[in-house]
Amino acid sequence: MSVRRFISILLKEYRHILREPRTLWMVFLSPAFVLVALSAIFTSGSSRIDLALWDQDRTPLSRQFAGTLSSDADFSIGHVSDYEEIEGLLVERRIDAAVIIPPGFADTVQRGDTASVQVILDGVDTLIAGQATGSLLGHAAHFGLALSRQLSLPSVPLQIHPRSAYLPNEAERDSMIPGLVPIVFSLPVIAAALALARERETGSLEALIATPVRGLEFLGGKLIAYVSAALGGLLPVWLVATVLFGIPLRGSPVLLVALAADFLLASVGMALFIGNLVRSQQAATVIALFVFFVPGFFLAGLIDPIDTTDLASTIFSYALPSTHFVTICRALFLKGATLTEIWQPALALLVLSAVWLGLGALTFRKRMH
């Protein structure tokens, strides 16, 4: 291992990145750009539920029940008058749920019996269906109680005061943005895999074989060049999060940079390992996207938390560097966590970077096939 040769490889890689404005932009600025694009879709408000209401009873009481529903700002209510219409609206995704007040609703209630109100949910998006179920149940319970305590004040016997810790206004955006940070860094990481596959494909690796550069120096130069370039991209990302979206970094910036470097080492190590396996850039791209892109959304705990009850799911999720970095970014940005509180994911990243870098170094052969 010679420092001079390592540095010359490093400089060569920097020149590759710097000489093409497009590559430079993509490696250095793209994380911030992608973060803006991904974050712009989240509003700071809560989502609305589109409801179709079919009042078959048409009595003051049924209208009163409908009134309690329409008083909820989360519902946007349209009136319908037959099943076919409801079915059509459901198939066309125009409504999330339909509420059908049966004929004789008022009579049944006034007789002292239980009136059944039918709710037809669109079951496809279960998160929305769950939200609709929760609010509708709440309204029905309160309505029933108000009736049963007709003369007394209809105070609610049980009130839930929900609060989201760390998120004062419950904005979905605020919780998503730190979680998206690992995904936006996939671009510079995949660029590293491609840089390696490219040398192989265009034959310049063959030229390097003839030089005294050793495998490790070559790999190390590539690694450090891409990790440091991507780490530079953390600054614009941090600016976007704090200045543009107003999410302050509550934790220590030094810790963020250190752990980001750790995350990038692990990811670029993984990318170099992929780059070693393949012969063409096309193959490297396909594999890298399979490994970094879709799993980044589904497995890294970004949306659904990791299902720790399932062993296979746990293993796969924890083998991805992004999983740990999602946890770290959320803890650092939103919770203001210190190293003692997030030592587990931090340690996991360290282990992963050692494993992936080791695999990358072991599989690298300084020769043609």
């Binding site: 497009r22 590559t23 490696v27 992608v34 991904l38 712009a40 879709i41 509003t43 989502s47 609305r48 459901l90 198939v91 066309e92 209630v109 002292g112 239980t114 009136a115 059944s116 709710v119 037809i120 079951g123 279960t126 929305i128 929760g134 149940l137 029905a140 319970a141 029933g144 049963s148 305590r149 007709q150 016997p157 049980l158 009130q159 839930i160 929900p162 609060r163 989201s164 760390y166 998120l167 979905e172 919780s175 996939s186 671009l187 660029a191 491609l194 096309q282 791209t285 396909v286 594999i287 996207l289 399979f290 879709v294 949306i303 659904d304 938390p305 009850t309 799911s313 999720s317 509180e341």
Partner: protein, 430 residues
């Protein structure tokens, strides 16, 4: 016509041969989607389950215990631990050991049963994951509604009885999370495979220097695009079909609508990706750049696809932008056909949108190809046009000057005209 078919076919065969030589790539293109779908479909889709809950019970009565038991019985929550104070529970949340805190106030039982009072339970959910906090809050609200319902039933007086809601979930009887997630994966996987293959087509040739050779063949522009597009289209359709098979057989999610409709709608979707890919491969100089463009585009499309946030809930600008996202329309179609059993009647608009996007992109790709394959040639052409324009202005000015001075004097402008276009042009036909 026969010549055109013949030439295009030749290019298709060449592309397929090239693909079949790279075994690893071929395997990933054909089996990768299946593996990924199996893996991810098997691993995710459990939904939010067993969120760890800490209870701060300051009441310690039979009522508070009933509340805790009911919370524990839900699928979404499980009571992991009891805390003595909120501060202690907050510490556990800070280190990520628990996701939800339920604080039962002292005299909760009393307030619950007294007619004029109301018991107030505080729920603190870990907002650093929005899905977690939404689900946790909705679940506790469900439980509270149940308790109120029971209470109302117990207290029911002659004058009135409670209202009961009967829920029916259409399309997904047991509110299983998997169909929603798996259909999204199907769309995203077809998307990424076709877009990558299409985007590397011209760039690869350029980088390896074989583009020059293609340019001197009698292949026309449209033939060139068609020859590159057909294998990708084939791969997209085969992948879609294979993955649908896996979804039906392995995940037991039936296709309620017409499979033919789904495949037909997949064609414009893949064509749109080919359009994007061709455009990208025509403006990038290296495959690395092409990939980077692809990735930035894919991020935007995925963001707007309605997979993370329903398109209707997005802020205004993004909602408008999302209408040009082909993934968004495709997911609507996939979910419509597979889960809702929707037909042409309710999907024609999305299909039309896909067709429009595909057509526009293909037209752009054709135009870009018309300008020459070299990435520099666009700039060069514009420079030449600009110079020609200035030359002609000089000329006119000079002529006017010459007219005024009666044909004498007036320096003749120096005309440095280059040939308007020096590239080897690729023309259609003979």
């Amino acid at each position: 016509m026969r010549d055109i078919l013949h030439r295009t076919w030749g290019l298709v065969v060449k592309e397929i041969l090239l693909l079949s030589r790279d075994r690893l790539l071929l395997g990933f293109v054909l089996l990768g989607p299946l593996l990924e779908l199996l893996l991810m479909g098997g691993l995710t889709g459990g939904g939010v389950q067993n969120l760890p809950l800490a209870v701060v019970d300051l009441d310690r009565t039979r009522f508070s215990r009933e509340l805790v038991t009911r919370l524990d019985q839900t699928d979404e929550l499980f009571v992991k631990t009891y805390a003595d104070s909120v501060a202690q529970a907050r510490e556990w949340m800070q280190s990520g050991q628990i996701s939800v805190i339920v604080v039962v106030p002292p005299s909760y039982g009393e307030a619950l049963t007294a007619p004029q009072q109301s018991a107030e339970v505080q729920v603190v959910a870990d907002g650093s994951n929005h899905v977690v906090s939404t689900v946790a809050i909705a679940t506790t609200e469900d439980v509270a509604a149940e308790i109120v319902q029971d209470l109302a039933a117990r207290q029911a007086v002659a004058s009135g009885g409670p209202v009961e809601l009967r829920f029916v979930a259409r399309f997904n009887e047991f509110l299983d999370d998997r169909p929603h997630a798996i259909t999204a994966m199907l769309g995203l996987i077809v998307y990424q495979v076709t877009l990558i293959i299409a985007s590397q087509s011209f760039t690869r040739e350029r980088e390896l220097g074989t583009l020059e050779q293609l340019r001197v063949t009698p292949l026309g522009r449209l033939e060139l695009i068609a020859g590159k597009a057909l294998p990708t289209l084939l791969i997209g359709l085969v992948d879609c079909l294979l993955m649908t098979g896996v979804i039906v057989v392995w995940f037991d999610i039936p296709v309620r609508g017409s499979m033919l409709l789904l495949l037909l709608m997949t064609i414009p979707f893949v064509l749109a990706q080919i359009g994007w890919g061709t455009l990208i491969s025509l403006v990038s100089r290296t495959q690395q750049q092409a990939l980077l463009f692809v990735f930035a585009l894919a991020m935007l499309e995925v963001a707007m696809s309605g997979f993370m946030v329903p398109a209707g809930d997005m802020p205004g600008v993004m909602r408008v932008l999302s209408t040009v996202s082909s993934v968004q329309h495709y997911l609507v179609i996939v979910r419509g056909v597979m889960l809702r059993g929707a037909g042409v009647k309710s999907l024609w608009l999305s299909g039309l949108a896909l067709g429009g996007i595909a057509l526009t992109l293909s037209a752009l790709a054709w135009l870009r190809l018309r300008l020459g394959l070299d990435t520099n040639s666009l700039r060069r052409r514009l420079q030449v046009l600009w110079r020609n324009y200035q030359d002609s202005r000089h000329e006119r000015k000079a002529r006017r000057g010459a007219d005024k001075t009666g044909g004498r004097g007036g320096k003749k402008p120096k005309l440095t005209r280059e040939p308007a276009y020096a590239d080897v042009r690729v023309e259609i036909g003979d």
